[in-house]
């Protein structure tokens, strides 16, 4: 549009200045030009013809910037030629569509006034008149369609659907430019609908003037109406204001002083430089002071965190940040945290309270973050105060030692190393968990209360892609014995169906503590277990080969009638009823030599066996002494889920054992 107008103006000027008034009174004049060029535009095949009071100007090809138009044409059927005035009341301008045009040139004042009316409620009025230095041009837009700007925008931006522009753009001969434009009811959207705006109202004020080597400019942009969704952020107009001041020369667009005022969130200072030839940002800085974290989280961060564990947090505190970009990308990030807290609102899986400190990250220098955490929560368990002295060097991060108090013990993380690549991340650490009493841990996790202490050594935990591998053995002391997990691998940890693989062995567990904990009746003795090829999906076992048996050595071995009944129940109803009918029901305690249970789980079926085989069955408890009891199981195969149901019924129904 604008370029075409310039072509028109140029040709019109040629007409006014080159052709003497006497010639205009002649019957027929034709002017031809192969090419007319000016700053930023060119016109080829220009032909101006005046015949019988009618003026026609044709341009074969007009170019402005990247835009090209064919057959641009100006028609004026009745050109009024008077002594002091040239006028055309009902002309037409042909660009991509036919636009009604009127023009008036006052020869005495040398003022040209052109009005283009592409639509009844849309007017573009050009006023061209002599100024203090050269000619001044003013374009007044009344009801301008915003869609007309589309040809000037990069094709990968969303398509403009609607919008009305009012205002004025002016150019003075002294090289000054000013614009005051207001957009109302703007709408745009891309095909996917993920970048869209509706009823958008924006006010723009722009001023520019030539200085020594460049153009000095200043722009104020205020967003005063409507809503925008730019995946994943949705924002409503709240009079957000962007003000920029800078310079422009042939190679560089520079923002010297910029500011973004975001009501309710805070102010951001901006500066930067854009290389026009290379089409890239060469340098930029952004800085924000004391931004309220809740406002930042709710309006900006939350949409980016949808689907992660940080999707719904309660937040508090303030954060200041400065970011610098260079040709090679991110150069530095400085973050200052002031009593920042965040908490998993609904599920209460984690929380950190009163996090303060500084994180001075540099792309090519070694720095250390000093962050102090006053406290927190992990799976509803209290976490004590700790410091986080993180060493950073570009995308390499390491931490010598971190001690996080948990319940009455602590988690020690040692030699943490992380490397963040463009496509992948990798981290590893070693450490130990110590002194956490099982009573408190199990109570906090809502498990049956177990006694003992949790002391685990984590020789090396590695995270590659989405899997977590523990090299070496994970040791837990519980039930007065030890539990050891080897070859522990966690896959898809944050996926819908996380998988765990491990080999687990248990030694010398106190059966009395164990049975009491799970309300299984009274058993005294010691237990070993070996579970190989354990595979959990969604934290439920789908595969394992488990062998549970009495430990070797001398220790008291007794089993209560309730426990016998429960063990029997696991093998089906047959064995249990035998006890109830026999004389043995008069005894409370029995002696045993050994007990054991094996289960090979595969495809939902548990293949069972015991300490030794018997005709048509297997021995679960082998009796010894007086009175002694031997429990034999007959079902070799049992559906795993059915077995779990049985165990649940047994442990839940055992508060009051019924002895007939």
């Amino acid at each position: 549009m604008r370029a075409a107008r310039r072509v028109f103006l140029f040709v019109f000027a040629v007409l006014l200045q080159v052709v003497p008034a006497t010639a205009l009174r002649a019957q027929h004049i034709t002017l031809l030009a192969d090419e007319v060029t000016g700053a930023g535009f060119s016109a080829q095949g220009v032909r101006a013809e005046f015949a019988n009071g009618a003026l026609t100007i044709q341009v074969g090809t007009a170019r402005a910037g990247e835009q090209t138009w064919k057959n641009v044409r100006l028609d004026c059927a009745a050109l009024k030629l008077e002594r002091a005035r040239i006028a055309c009341d009902d002309g037409a301008f042909m660009l991509t569509e036919k636009i009604p045009l009127s023009l008036n040139y006052a020869a005495d004042k040398r003022v040209l006034d052109v009005a283009l009316k592409p639509a009844p409620d849309e007017t573009w009025r050009l006023d061209w008149r002599p100024g203090k230095r050269g000619n001044d041009l003013t374009v007044r837009i009344d009801g301008g369609r915003w869609q007309r700007a589309a040809v000037w925008l990069p094709p990968d931006l969303p398509k403009i659907g609607a919008g009305v522009v009012n205002g004025e753009i002016g150019y003075s001969g002294a090289g000054r430019i000013h614009a005051k434009l207001a957009l109302a009811n703007g709408a745009f959207a891309d095909k996917s609908g993920l970048r869209a705006g509706e009823k958008v109202g924006v006010a723009l004020a722009l001023q520019a003037e030539p200085a020594a080597q460049h153009l000095r400019w200043r722009a104020e942009l205020a967003w005063n109406a409507g809503e925008v969704f730019w995946q994943p952020v949705y924002l409503k107009a709240a009079n957000q204001q962007l003000s920029l001041a800078g310079t422009l020369d042939a190679t560089t667009l520079r923002v010297v002083l910029g500011g973004l005022r975001f009501p309710g969130v805070g102010d951001i200072e901006l500066s930067g430089a854009y290389d026009l030839a290379a089409n890239q940002l060469t340098q930029a800085r952004a800085q924000a002071r004391a931004i309220a974290v809740p406002a930042l989280y709710e309006s900006i961060l939350k949409p980016f965190l949808a689907g992660t564990v940080f999707a719904d947090l309660r937040t508090d505190g303030r954060i200041s940040a400065a970011v610098a970009l260079g040709c090679k990308g991110l150069q530095s990030v400085d973050v200052h945290l002031e009593r920042v807290s965040f908490e998993d609102k609904l599920e209460r899986r984690f929380a950190l309270f009163d996090v303060s400190g500084i994180v001075p990250w540099r792309a090519d220098a070694q720095t250390q973050a000093v962050v102090i955490v006053k406290g927190g929560e992990l799976l509803k368990m209290p976490v004590g105060a700790f410091a986080l002295p993180l060493n950073m060097h570009g995308m390499r991060f390491d931490l010598k030692h971190l001690r996080v108090p948990l319940l009455d013990g602590a988690i020690d993380v040692r030699d943490f190393v992380a490397r963040v690549g463009e496509k992948s991340a990798y981290w590893q650490f070693g450490g130990e968990v110590g002194g956490i009493s099982m009573d408190k841990l199990t109570a906090a996790l809502g498990l049956p209360v177990m006694h003992g202490t949790l002391a685990a050594t984590l020789p090396m935990v590695r995270h590659v892609k989405s899997s977590l591998r523990v090299d070496g053995a994970l040791n837990i002391k519980v039930f007065d014995g030890t539990v050891q997990a080897n070859n522990l691998v966690l896959l898809d940890i944050f996926g819908r169906a996380p998988r765990v693989q491990a080999d687990v062995s248990m030694q010398n567990l106190d059966l009395e503590l164990l049975a009491r904990t799970f309300s299984f009746g009274n058993i005294t003795g010691r237990l070993d277990a070996r579970v190989t090829g354990l595979e959990l999906v969604n934290w439920q076992p789908v595969k394992f080969d488990a062998r549970v048996a009495s430990s070797h050595g001398e220790y008291p071995r007794t089993i209560s009638q309730t426990a016998v009944q429960n063990i029997s129940a696991l093998g089906g109803p047959g064995a249990a009823s035998t006890i109830q009918r026999s004389v043995l029901r008069f005894f409370d305690q029995f002696g045993y030599e050994k007990l054991g249970w094996n289960c090979k789980l595969q495809s939902g079926v548990c293949e069972m066996s015991g300490v030794e085989d018997r005709a048509q069955g297997y021995v679960l408890v082998k009796g010894r002494g007086i009175p002694s009891i031997t429990v034999i199981g007959y079902n070799r195969q049992v559906n795993w889920r059915e077995l779990l149901d049985r165990i649940r019924r047994v442990t839940e129904g055992n508060v009051k054992p019924i002895v007939k």
Partner: protein
Amino acid sequence: MKTFRLFEIVLLLALLSLASHAGAQANLEINTPGIAAIQASMQKRHAELAPLYASGAVGLTRDGNVQLRDPSAVPLPQRAAVNGLVAAENQDRAALYREIARANNRPEWEGDIRNTFAQRWIDRAQPGWYYQTAAGAWARK
């Protein structure tokens, strides 16, 4: 409850056709904790997706996914949530196809499972829902 049944029917039909596809290997494992977890998550989400299928905002694609096909049917403030819903559903669907293949020790079946499901989701779609034809065009049931 209705949506629950629909899901079950689709799962069953898809698996039946998979079983016939597998020939002699008709003994398909579909009852694993992994599949159950994904299934539960999808069932829960279905209540939110159903009105979007009905309005035509979201349609069933030919490759066993769902897609925001008419964003204008979703007001701007809800668009992020709907987009999140679509992304989560596709994540679950991919996990479901992978998990069924894995549970049966046939990871190479994943593509076939996806194709079978794609066809079944479309076959069982309710009248008025949009789906993608084999040529990729949107059609209404």
